[in-house]
């Protein structure tokens, strides 16, 4: 009763195939977007925006990217960290190679609109150069991802995990050993230069928190929409055919080479953009430390825990993996006063780290056991419950 599908009639094929077919879904998503774009930036603290929501959104993009590969196309990858690094370093190289192009474009177009709050900068509708750079960096990542996707034509499953591990270790080693990637910065850590988009400063240490958040949020929405639509078109269907049974898919005319490689390319493209955002918007510097093997595992966890082959699942998984360590940390720290009051000593910082590992590992196992199809499946079940409420039979 609460979630109604009856009484909704579509009058054209286009309407029937829309992403959000039901008015209820459309209202819900519109509500979420209003909250995310208007209410959250207006009321959330800077801590919530920078340390919770921005990393969550960036990791959602990475999870969506890996979901294309693992969830939709069924190819396992443990190299997400390296592809994120590639995206970050390529963006850095491109940004520093064309330092003034963005400003030039904005000035040539010559349309400036002053904003009510001068701290935010000036609105320039043609200042899109940073976006172009992100897309170029993503394209380079896609090309490299394609190369490391080649073994998938001959092998699959867990073997692919090893070849993508090769990408992980080799690329990270390359970025450490070749100082060209960081423009010969000391210690291999390159500070992210300040850049503007549409006149707003979105990167660099001085960029306003709200600008960063809205920038990442807009990109996330675009990426989610893109993944949803690509997965519904011919390409996405060929990915799913390959995932469900590659040999049978080949029999019915799906080109396995094209399907697998396009999945690798698209997935790496998105992961590369996520990596670039992580460096430029989240940590303000480009360095290999931020993209270790642990990141690869985290992204894989997001996809598996959230739900393979589900856009919603990518968001739920990213939220789980990003927020649970933070909540654990807060929770354990909050325990300290009580422990001290009872004379039990306090939990040291190192111990919190260890307990975090334990609980995180246990939670992964717990979710895999309770719902092997991921958190997105829980939403399906909830929808069914709402459909039949209050008379479940």
């Amino acid at each position: 009763m609460l979630y109604r599908e009856t009484g909704v009639y579509q009058t054209s094929y286009g309407k029937d195939q829309a992403v959000f077919r039901l008015p209820l879904d459309r209202y819900a998503i519109a509500g979420w977007l209003i909250v995310a774009f208007a209410i959250v930036p207006a009321f959330a603290s800077s801590y919530v925006l920078t340390d919770l929501l921005t990393p969550f959104l960036i990791m959602s993009i990475a999870a969506l990217g890996l979901n294309v590969l693992t969830g939709y196309c069924g190819q396992l990858s443990l190299g997400s960290g390296a592809f994120m690094a590639l995206g970050g370093f390529m963006t850095y190289k491109l940004v520093t190679a064309f330092p003034t192009a963005g400003a030039l474009l904005g000035v040539v177009a010559g349309i400036d609109v002053a904003l009510p709050d001068p701290a935010l900068g000036t609105f320039r509708p043609f200042d899109l150069w940073f976006l172009a750079i992100l897309i170029m960096a993503g394209a380079i990542t896609a090309a490299v991802g394609l190369v490391f996707g080649l073994p998938s034509l001959k092998i699959k499953g867990l073997y692919l995990a090893v070849t993508t591990l090769a990408a992980q270790f080799f690329l990270i080693w390359l970025f450490i050993k070749v100082p060209w990637f960081t423009n010969y910065s000391p210690a291999g850590i390159a500070p992210a230069p300040p850049r503007t988009l549409l006149g707003f400063q979105v990167t660099g240490a001085a960029s306003p928190v709200v600008c960063r958040y809205l920038f990442v949020l807009s990109l996330t929405v675009l990426v989610a929409l893109a993944v949803k639509n690509v997965s519904r078109c011919h390409t996405g269907r060929s990915w799913m055919a390959i995932r469900d049974m590659d040999i049978a898919a080949e029999m019915i005319g799906v080109h396995p080479t094209a399907a697998k490689l396009s999945a690798f390319a698209f997935s790496s493209f998105l992961i590369g953009i996520a990596g670039a955002l992580w460096a430029f918007v989240k940590i303000n510097s480009v360095q290999t430390d931020a993209y270790g093997i642990l990141v690869s595992f985290q992204v894989l966890f997001m996809v598996i825990i959230g739900g393979l082959g589900s856009v919603l699942g990518s968001f739920l998984g990213a939220a789980f993996v990003t927020f649970s360590p933070i909540l654990l940390n807060i929770g354990l720290n909050a325990l300290n006063p009580y422990l001290l009051a009872f004379g039990l000593g306090r939990i040291e910082v190192a111990m919190i780290k260890h307990i975090e590992f334990m609980v995180f590992g246990a939670l992964i196992i717990f979710f895999l056991i309770v719902e092997p199809n991921g958190l997105a499946r829980l939403w399906q079940i909830a929808k069914q419950k709402l459909r039949t409420w209050p008379f479940p039979y």
Binding site: I155, T163, I365
Partner: protein
């Protein structure tokens, strides 16, 4: 021409100029390789009989090493500490079977793989919470990095005044003994026979009365035992710290080379990886690429190898039916 000379001829010329150095590198490489192999054997034992690709093997090695070292620092004699560690490993096997594997029966290989990653995180946190995150040393009087040189008359006469690490020889000896013991266990004992039956076909072995759950506990305990052996040998070579788990990841390319289902293959694969990565590091990596190539060489080698022989050197060919 210059490139060909630097990268293709130079290193070989260097090898030819000082063959004893090559021999030294090869022996050290075999020592490393046997260590990778020891970890990989644990993978193979579990994969063969339960089809689980056990990522947690590296963490189990860390678990064994840190527990052993921790118990020793409490002042226990080495045999008691060793026995306790073994008991802990069996308890771990029980716990994993009860809380993870039994509840995930029938799930996809990927789900099980992810679950073992969760197990790996849990174990890492657990042992570090118990013993602290500081690096430990394992000293139980095994021959250590004390160097000896073959400088006998016959050695000098053959131009072989080389340095061999005792710990490398130890790794080789232990590895060989372990493989023989496992071979005997799998082929001569009743439980070993049952395990081979389980590896062949779960359903059929259950129908003749082999208790599957108990077999899995045995299998995990057995791989725990190999992890303990690996940990003991490894602990004499390097410090015991979480990076060990990352090093143990190299067992994956070793498995690719040796085949997922072959125990001797794991040792051979380990040797190939150990020797080739050390040769590459010594003659190409250090002088030409700035070093630290051992971080990725094994994986890239496995990648190239996979393109030509996906089932590994000794694995069963992969046959797929629709």
């Amino acid at each position: 021409m210059g490139i060909v000379e630097t990268y293709l001829i130079g290193p070989f010329a260097e090898m030819a100029a000082y063959p004893a150095g090559v021999l030294e590198t090869v022996i050290a490489g075999i020592g490393n390789g046997f260590l990778y192999g020891l970890v990989a054997i644990g993978f193979v034992i579990i994969f063969k009989s339960s089809g689980v690709f056990n990522y947690a093997q590296g963490a189990v090695v860390f678990f064994a090493a840190l527990n052993f070292a921790g118990l020793l620092t409490l002042g226990l004699p080495w045999y008691l500490a060793g026995l306790l560690t073994l008991l802990l490993l069996v308890a771990l096997a029980f716990a994993v079977e009860r809380t993870v594997l039994r509840l995930l029966v029938g799930q996809s290989a990927l789900t099980l793989f992810m679950a073992t990653i969760g197990v790996s995180f849990f174990i890492e946190g657990l042992v570090e919470a118990a013993w602290g995150g500081n690096p430990h040393l394992l000293k139980i009087g095994l021959p250590e990095s004390a160097l000896f040189t073959i400088d006998h008359a016959w050695g000098e006469a053959a131009g072989l005044d080389i340095i061999v690490q005792e710990s490398d020889l130890l790794a080789i000896a232990v590895g060989l003994v372990l493989v023989l013991a496992l071979y005997a266990f799998f082929h001569r004992s009743r439980i070993g026979q049952a395990l081979r039956a389980v590896a062949d076909d779960h359903m059929a072995s259950m129908s003749v009365g082999i208790p599957l759950n108990r077999m899995w506990v045995i299998v995990w305990s057995l791989s725990g035992l190999t992890a303990f052996v690996a940990a003991t040998v490894w602990g004499t070579k390097i410090q015991i710290e979480p990076t060990m788990i990352g090093l143990a990841l190299k067992a994956l390319p070793v498995l690719i080379l040796g085949g997922l289902t072959s125990i001797p293959g794991a040792l051979v694969g380990g040797c190939i990886i150990g020797v080739s990565e050390l040769l590459f590091e010594t003659y190409w990596g250090q002088p030409l690429f700035g070093g630290a190539t051992t971080e990725w060489f094994a994986y890239v080698l496995a990648l190239v190898f996979l393109l030509f022989r996906p089932q590994g050197l000794f694995g069963e060919p992969i046959i797929e039916r629709v």
